[in-house]
């Protein structure tokens, strides 16, 4: 055990002394949280709207005013013809074109029903659906107002409640997930890189001829990174609370307990990667490959529920997915141990399997 501790101490000195590693550990997470939390959002503030008003009556102008006053739209052009709108859509300057037909007001007066056309630039992906729902809301409100001063009371009064995130702040959702990404990248990358480096420089062979056993070697290598991962989480969490005001509704010790377990998986994967590569370059590519797939398929950026059924099953094999779910449940929803038992036991299983197979693989390779 003493020997493993010596090695751990040496490793820690390396980390603290080496500017590059320190930057990697301290600066990159900071930038990641700041950029990610701001960039990863689906809220639409102002989107470009092109008006094609073929009617030009008081009713159509009132409708246009509703769009202008909603705060969601920025009217970039108003033309009485479709060609210019089409051109603007093709150029990509317009996200939504509202086409009001020339019988808009007449139809409203005669039949109390009129039609407009919304042309959405669906190239804009997620924004397209959101913009469409904004437009539908404006149309609905306007129609209700036209119905007269005393609209018939709806027979069903629908009330809404947003649990856990009443202000619909996207950052409260993203930051707990980003913390997991940080811990994963640091844990896996540092481990894989570090051992691959010893291989590349030939210092691994030197260590092999010392009396240190393989078990001690692995423990000595992993313990410092395990600690670093937890420090990383503490840093990220502090930043998230102070800068973005994310909620901490559940137990912080529970979160760190889960992280301690999860890091075993992340480090185990790093160790396993280091056994199959010879150089740092290879290590980085393999880590990238795996971590990319893990992160993009973890539900961090896009919801798991929207994935194809087979992809959803596949995500069960993704440890990141489980920790992202747990982190969000603990921080945002205030979940306790009983609520996260299922993903937690899957993580525990992963920890055992990954770590054992990595250690076995390491012995076989090195022997």
């Amino acid at each position: 055990m003493r020997r493993a501790l010596y090695l751990a101490h040496a490793e820690l000195l390396h980390v603290v002394r080496d500017r590059a590693t320190l930057m990697q550990v301290l600066l990159v997470p900071l930038i990641q949280i700041l950029i990610l939390a701001n960039a990863a959002t689906f809220e639409i503030r102002e989107t470009s709207l092109w008006i094609v008003d073929l009617d030009r009556t008081s009713a159509s102008r009132a409708l246009v005013n509703r769009f202008a006053a909603s705060g969601h739209f920025d009217i970039v052009g108003t033309t009485p013809s479709l060609e210019a709108a089409n051109d603007s859509l093709l150029r990509g300057d317009t996200t939504l074109a509202l086409v009001i037909p020339d019988n808009f007001e007449a139809q409203l007066v005669r039949t109390r029903r009129s039609e407009v056309e919304l042309v959405v630039n669906a190239e804009k992906g997620a924004a397209a659906g959101i913009v469409q729902s904004y437009a539908a809301t404006i149309l609905g409100t306007y129609a209700a107002e036209l119905a007269g001063p005393a609209p018939p009371a709806p027979r069903i009064d629908i009330r809404h409640r947003n649990r856990y995130n009443a202000t619909l702040n996207y950052r409260h959702y993203m930051v707990p997930g980003i913390l997991v990404a940080l811990v994963t990248i640091i844990g896996t990358l540092l481990t894989a890189q570090n051992i691959a480096r010893e291989k590349e420089f030939g210092t691994l062979e030197q260590l092999n001829v010392t009396p240190i056993t393989r078990g001690q070697f692995i423990a000595g290598k992993l313990v410092p990174f395990w600690g670093l991962g937890l420090v990383e989480l503490a840093l990220g969490l502090t930043l998230g609370v102070l800068v973005f005001g994310i909620p901490v509704r559940g137990s912080v010790p529970l979160l760190f307990g889960v992280a301690a377990l999860y890091l075993l998986v992340a480090l185990g994967i790093g160790l396993w990667i280091s056994t199959i590569v010879d150089t740092q370059q290879q290590a980085m590519f393999v880590v990238f490959f795996i971590v990319n797939i893990y992160l993009l398929m973890s539900g961090l950026f896009t919801p798991i529920d929207s994935m194809e059924p087979w992809a959803q099953v596949l995500t069960q094999l993704n440890p990141v997915r489980h920790f992202v779910a747990i982190s969000r449940a603990i921080l945002v929803k205030g979940a306790g141990l009983a609520d996260i038992l299922q993903p937690l036991s899957i993580l525990a299983l992963f920890a055992v399997v990954v770590l054992t197979s990595a250690v076995l693989q390491y012995r076989k390779r090195a022997a």
């Binding site: 990863a40 859509l89 995130n165 740092q280 609520d339």
Partner: protein
């Protein structure tokens, strides 16, 4: 010219001999497109719904059936207690809950009006809002089935999703994935390959050789340009065959834009390598400086309109954003240079400036 050819041959040997890296590099785009084409989606369907039916009667049963029959929801639990909702949310079993009051049928029939509560797990605010709208639509549909006294005013909107009528996610993500994968290949591999020569000291051997600095760069970069082009081609073919992503515009133009983008990415890789002498730092810089921005700031997943202004400005400086716009324009809209000349010029200018800067920064100097 002969020394350059010799260097090119040496690089080609390096790449060919390092089978593992080559395999990862070529498998990366294919696997990523396959996985993410099916996994990265943002549409919501079959959301998990819990219904709190405090006193089942004829009307609640009809409404429950409407929810069960809608494509948007699947009912995971029917319970008589509102307090169950929190537990279901915390465990992630339900995403939304509908609370039906006692005496629902009676309230509806005697004209007093009934009150329904929709509770959503707004941890993910985007999904939360969408589920609100879906649930409300189902309830309003139920309400409409019973005749009302007065005809409401209606403004019906026909919505056309231009360029991607089915709002197929893969149509949007494939162009983004191209940018993502090409960046990893071009920037990362160049940066690492150059710093490796520095780290192992072999760059000195190159410097004392009759090679001019520019031919060292060309020799180092050209093989990766070829690999990048092959990867881009693989992605396009796969997108066509597996996901039936349309390619409405000119293939030649798309290929030319891809080359411009790869050149810009390669130049970034060279720039990174001039600032550092260790592979680890090079990799962290390449990742923080190119990969993250290309995922987050290219409009690939998250709409750029949603971001705070400083990030929107920053996004304009990311080559990935321009390439994604170009690729989507060519593939989905089928437009050519008459619409895309501005973006092409900007991307070309970026490539030129970055190449010039990297050539200037690559001062062969011994320290």
């Amino acid at each position: 010219m002969t020394p350059l050819l010799a260097l090119l041959r040496k690089e080609a040997y390096h790449i060919r001999r390092d089978r593992r890296t080559l395999a990862v590099v070529l498998a990366l785009p294919v696997v990523q497109v396959l996985l993410f084409g099916s996994a990265i989606r943002t549409d919501v369907k079959q959301a998990r719904l819990a219904i709190v039916d405090q006193a089942p009667d004829e009307a609640t049963l009809v409404l429950r059936n409407r929810f069960a029959a809608s494509d948007a929801f699947r009912i995971v639990e029917v319970t008589p207690r509102t307090s169950d909702l929190d537990r279901l949310f915390r465990m992630g079993k339900a995403q939304a809950g509908v609370v039906l009051p006692v005496g629902f049928a009676g309230d509806l029939d005697d004209g007093a009006g009934a009150s329904v509560l929709i509770v959503v797990d707004a941890t993910d605010p985007n999904i939360g809002s969408v589920l609100h709208a879906y649930a409300e639509a189902v309830i309003r549909g139920f309400e409409r089935e019973r005749p009302t006294g007065r005809r409401p005013v209606q403004i019906a909107a026909t919505t056309r999703m231009r360029f991607n009528p089915t709002r197929e996610s893969s149509n949007l993500f494939v162009p983004g994935l191209m940018a993502f994968v090409l960046t990893i290949l071009a920037t990362l591999m160049t940066a690492i390959s150059l710093t490796r020569e520095k780290e192992s000291g072999t760059i000195e051997a190159l410097l004392v050789s009759p090679l001019r600095p520019w031919s060292i760069i060309v020799g180092k970069v050209f093989p990766y340009l070829v690999i990048g082009a092959v990867a881009a081609l693989l992605i396009i073919v796969e997108a066509r065959l597996v996901f039936h992503v349309p390619l409405r515009g000119s293939v030649v133009l798309l290929a030319a834009e891809a080359v411009l983008f790869i050149l810009a990415s390669l130049a970034l890789g060279i720039l990174v390598s001039t600032r550092t002498s260790s592979q680890r730092v090079a990799m962290m810089m390449a990742m923080a400086g190119t990969m993250l921005p290309n995922v987050l700031l290219s409009g690939f997943i998250f709409p750029i309109e949603s971001m705070p202004l400083p990030l929107q400005v920053l996004a304009k400086a990311v080559p990935g954003q321009w390439f994604v716009t170009l690729a989507r324009g060519i593939m989905l809209k089928g437009i050519g240079l008459e619409y895309l000349w501005k973006e092409t010029l900007i991307l070309g200018a970026m490539a030129a400036v970055l190449l010039a800067a990297s050539a200037a920064a690559f001062r062969p100097r011994l320290e």
